[in-house]
Each structure stands twice: as C-alpha cells, then as structure tokens.
Amino acid sequence: MRVVIAEDDTLLREGLVLLLAGEGIEVAAAVDNADDFLAAVRAEQPDAAVVDVRLPPGFTDEGIAAAAAARREHPGLPVLVLSAYVEDSYATELLAGGADGVGYLLKERVGKVEQFLDALHRVVAGGTVMDPEVVSQLMVRRRADDPVRTLTPREREVLALMAEGLANPDIAGRLVVTETAVSKHIRNIFAKLGLAHGDTGHRRVLAVLAYLKS
C-alpha cells in the first residue's frame, strides 16, 4: 500500500512515516501543506491519504478542504483525516462528498497502532471510519423522548460500533459475542429506531450517523 501524508507538525509527520514504514506501508510523500498535498496526490496516485485537519496558513480546517479537493480530483481516493479534537461538523463535511473510503479519527488514535492500521485498511477497502468520540458525542445529545433511550446498554454499544464503521464480525470480536448475537441486536436496534434494514457497509454507517444527528 502507498500513502501520502499531510501533517504540518514536523515531529508528528516523521513519526507517522516511521510508524507506517515499520508496518510495511510505503509513504510515497509526506508534506506539510495543502498545496503540496494535492500536488503529491496527483504525482503519486497513492492508495490512500492521511491528512491533518489543521494545516497552514489558517490552522483551522484546511485539511478538510484539501481532502475534499483531492477526492473531487480523484474520485474514490480513500482519505483518513486526523484531528486534534472532535468536531462533528468536520465529520459531516467530509461525509458530504460520499462516505465510502472516508475516515475521521482523533490524532491520538495512531498510538493504538493495530486499530489505526485496521482503520486505514477499512478506509482503503472503501469503508467508513468514525472516531468513537464523534459517535459518543452524538449519542449523548439525545432528547428525553428519543428512541435511542429505549435501547439496552448492549444495543447502544452495538449502535456505537456500527456508527464507527465496524462490520458485524468486527463488532462481534470487540464485544466478544457471536455474530448471530450481533445480528439480533442490530435487528432490534433498527426496529426500535425505525430504520430500513438490510443496508451494509458504509451505507449503514451513514444511516446510523444521519439518524444520530437528526
């Protein structure tokens, strides 16, 4: 796998290169600003891009714009955006251009290397990855009469993992239950929330996120 990295902090950029190289992932280019990033994507045609949200000159959300621009130029380019803090409007902006092959993670998730690589692979495979923090923020902002409140604790766990973009086998693995049990929970959740059943993959993530945001 070949990736392009856009991260303005030198030490973090070098750290990312080191981390990915150590895991057998080729870093085609590592740059520190949006323009160089777009040029690198054009030149290298990578399998994925890892982008920091805050890039010069404004240090606000240039990374989001850069990721969106890269995806307009190269439809379907998997992009994993790293952010110093969770802002669900950033997640929404990212997902607006299609949710397949999009990830949004807090920066510190790179420390759990295995999960980070897993997220990267899922994005490259066309999946959607949402940071658990985004999901839990969406989960707490519920009104009193919200159907989410009727979910059992286990069902809420499953809902959160679905929103993060995990597939049924992964959810089963995380919760240490059987896949059949997960399927049963998901059926219950969809029934309680009144969502159309049967969607899989990133469409399911979108549906769940859209529901949580509404």
């Binding site: 030490l11 973090l12 750290g15 240090f59 920066k107 510190e108 790179v110 420390g111 290397v113």
Partner: protein
C-alpha cells in the same frame, strides 16, 4: 531643601511666562467689557463670535502652559463648531459653560498673573541683591546709602545682610512654588471640561476601551488555544504515537524499541516545557509567588542587557494588572535586548497618586535604554503593538520615544481603580 529648589526652578519660568499671558488677558478683558457694553446698546453681538474665538485661542495657549508645568494634559472642553447661521452660533457660544469658564480665567489671571509674574523674579533677585550688598555698599555715596531694606552704612550693617539673604531665599523657595501651584490649579480647574462633560467623555472612552479589552481578551484566548493545540497537544500525540510504535517493535524486535522510547520521552519533556510556557504567558507563576516587584527583579536579572530596577511605593495590585505590567516590562526588555544595541537598561515602576479627586491612581511603568533608538512601531514592532494592546485593555496608554541615536523610552500608564 533640594526638592524646594527644584520646585522653584520649575515654577519660576512658568510664572514668568504667565506675565505676558496675563497682559493679554487684561487686553481681552477690556475687549470683552466693550463688546458687552455694545451688546447692551444692540450692535455688540456681531463681535461676540470673534471675541470668543480670541479668548479660546488664548485659553488654548494657557492650557499648554499649564500642561507643560504640571505634566498632565488639560483637555479642551469645546464642542466641535456646528454649521449654524451666525445668530444660532452666537447663542450656542453663549450657552456653552466653557465660554464663561474661560472668561473666569481671563478675569482671574488678568488680575493676578501680573503680580505673580513680577513677584517670581523679584524675590530671588532680592536674595541676590542682599547677598552682594556687603561687596558694594562702600562704593555708594554716604548721603545715599544702600537701602536693603535698612540703610547699610557700616560693616556691622553689611553683616546683617546674611540673615536678610536667608530670609529672601526662604521667601523665594516658599512663595514662588506656592504661587505657581495655585495658578496652575485654578487655571486647570477653569480651563478643563466640567464634570458633566468629563463624565460623558469618559463613558465614550470606556465604551471604546471595553470593546478593545474584549477584543484583546479574545485574541489572547485564540493565542492560548493555538499554543495548546499546535504545541502541547501535538507533542503529547507524538508521545502516544512513539509509544505505540515502540510497543509494536517490542513484540518483533525488542532491541529497536529503545530509541523509540527515548524519543517518546523527549517529546513528553517538550510537551511539559511548552505547557509551562503557555502557563507563564497566561499568568506568570512568579507573580503569585513573589509579587510584581519580585517578578520584575527576576526579569531584570535575566535580561541580556544589564538592567537596573527601581520600584517605588508598590503594593499588591489586581492579578490581571500585575500580569499586564509584567508583560509590558518583559516585552520591552526583550525588544531592548534584541534590537537596541543598548549597554544598559533601566526599569522604573511606581504608583502615581491621583492629582485631584477626579483623577485615578495610576501604575507608571517606564523602560529606558541607552541604545541607538529608532524603534519603529510599524516596522515589525509587534512587541510594541502587543504592549499597546495589553495596556489599552486596562484603559491605560503607552508612549514610545525613540529618536535616532537613542535613548528609547517606553512608558505605560495604567490607571488602577483602588
């Protein structure tokens, strides 16, 4: 004694300059009386605007004379002139209390300024005369001896000049500063805006400075957020990331994990350092521990340019104010060390007592260096702009004097509501 001599030396030219201005006041007084008389007859009102203009011009010079003596500006109380027809303008001028207060000063200064302006040189000259009488009384003809104030006709009489010289001197040292102080006080009181005007101006000013304070506060919050996010937080992410890589390395090849752990440790130390800097920039802990004077002493000791610190009559002030004062000195000394080429810097911090009941106590901060001067606020002097903003947030003002060739003086005055 030295302060009395200094006060006299300052008071003397002030009173001397008051002499011609008092002559002008008398001329203006006569003109005002004539205009008043003709107005009663019915035609004098045509001359009112030009007379008021003359009085105001004279009052303007008086304000500058008093301001130069007291070191405090005397603001002019006039409303900006409107574009009214002559009759309305005349009525507005007559209704303006400032017009009548100016006339009050014309009257008082016209009657007293001459006497003060004469006494001021006569008293010290009397002392000089009495002191030199013993040198020349013998030269005077016997039938017309020196009268100072008694006829000096013998050496014993000349010896009596010693206490008389002392008497003249004491009279000079006491009366001249008293006269000048009185003249400046009465003039200032009549020539500045009335309390009402001052209050409404103050409200306008406070509204503006409050907006500036909020703006400065917002900018400060953004700066802190940036420092925390792009500095401290990134370093901590780096720590976590390198620990993660080290963890993977430990499983595969434990030997290669050590440099990664060391790098994580370095970044943790960096994070701590950056956090310390951010905290210091918000409220320097040294202020809490040692107060403003202790903190400034530490700053002066740390300064790259040898620096003397003079602190006068300081007590504990509100934390935000102390932080601002500390920031001003720190920033000014940084500028001095970086740009001035100075060999010596001097920091003076003092509390200035209020001049009158309307005035506020103020913290006066002065940073002076003997460098080559030429400090320019537009040319990348963001340090000075920062000082100005921070001081303005407290309703204070900053002056920069930096002629080419030096010296450079940054002076900030921050009122402290006590």
């Amino acid at each position: 004694m030295r302060t009395a001599a200094g006060a006299t030396r300052r008071a003397l030219p002030f009173l001397l300059r008051g002499f011609p201005s008092s002559v002008v006041a008398l001329v203006l007084l006569i003109r005002v009386l004539l205009v008043a008389a003709f107005t009663l007859v019915g035609i004098g009102w045509l001359a009112i605007p030009s007379t008021v203009r003359s009085v105001r011009r004279w009052a303007g010079r008086e304000r500058r004379r008093i301001a130069a003596f007291t070191g405090r500006p005397v603001p002019a109380p006039y409303d900006p002139p409107g574009r009214d027809d002559p009759a309305t303008r005349t009525r507005t001028l007559l209704a303006d209390p400032a017009t009548w207060r100016d006339l009050g000063w014309v009257l008082i200064h016209g009657l007293t300024g001459l006497v003060a302006g004469l006494l001021a040189p006569v008293l010290p000259l009397g002392a000089v005369n009495a002191a030199v009488v013993p040198l020349y009384w013998k030269a005077m003809p016997a039938d017309d001896p020196v009268e100072a104030p008694y006829a000096v006709t013998s050496w014993l009489g000349a010896l009596g000049m010693v206490p008389i010289t002392v008497g003249w001197l004491i009279l000079t040292l006491v009366v001249v500063p008293l006269l000048a102080g009185w003249q400046a006080r009465v003039g200032r009181r009549l020539l500045r805006p009335t309390r009402d005007v001052r209050l409404s101006e103050r409200v306008t000013e406070l509204t503006a400075t409050r907006a500036a304070a909020l703006e400065a506060h917002g900018a400060e919050l953004r700066r802190i957020e940036r420092d925390l996010h792009d500095g401290t937080q990134n370093r901590l992410v780096g720590v976590i990331m390198h620990l993660g890589i080290a963890e993977r390395a430990l499983r595969r090849d434990p030997e290669s994990a050590l440099p990664l752990l060391l790098r994580a440790q370095d970044q943790a130390a960096d994070a701590l350092g950056e956090l310390r800097d951010v905290v210091r920039s918000i409220y320097p802990p040294v202020l809490a521990e040692r107060g403003l004077d202790g903190a400034l002493a530490a700053l002066a000791a740390r300064c790259a340019v040898p620096c003397t610190l003079r602190v006068d009559g300081l007590r504990r002030l509100p934390a935000a104010l102390e932080a601002a004062a500390y920031f001003v000195v720190a920033e000014a000394l940084t500028n001095t060390a970086k740009h001035s080429g100075a060999e010596h810097a001097e920091v003076t911090v003092s509390l200035r007592p209020p001049a009158d009941p309307d005035d506020e106590e103020a913290l006066v901060i002065e940073v002076r260096d003997d460098g080559h001067g030429g400090a320019d606020e537009s040319g990348g002097g963001s340090g000075l702009a920062g000082i100005r903003r921070r001081v303005a947030a407290f309703d204070g003002h900053t002056d920069l004097a930096s002629p080419h060739g030096g010296p450079t003086v940054v002076r900030a005055v921050i009122p402290c509501a006590s």
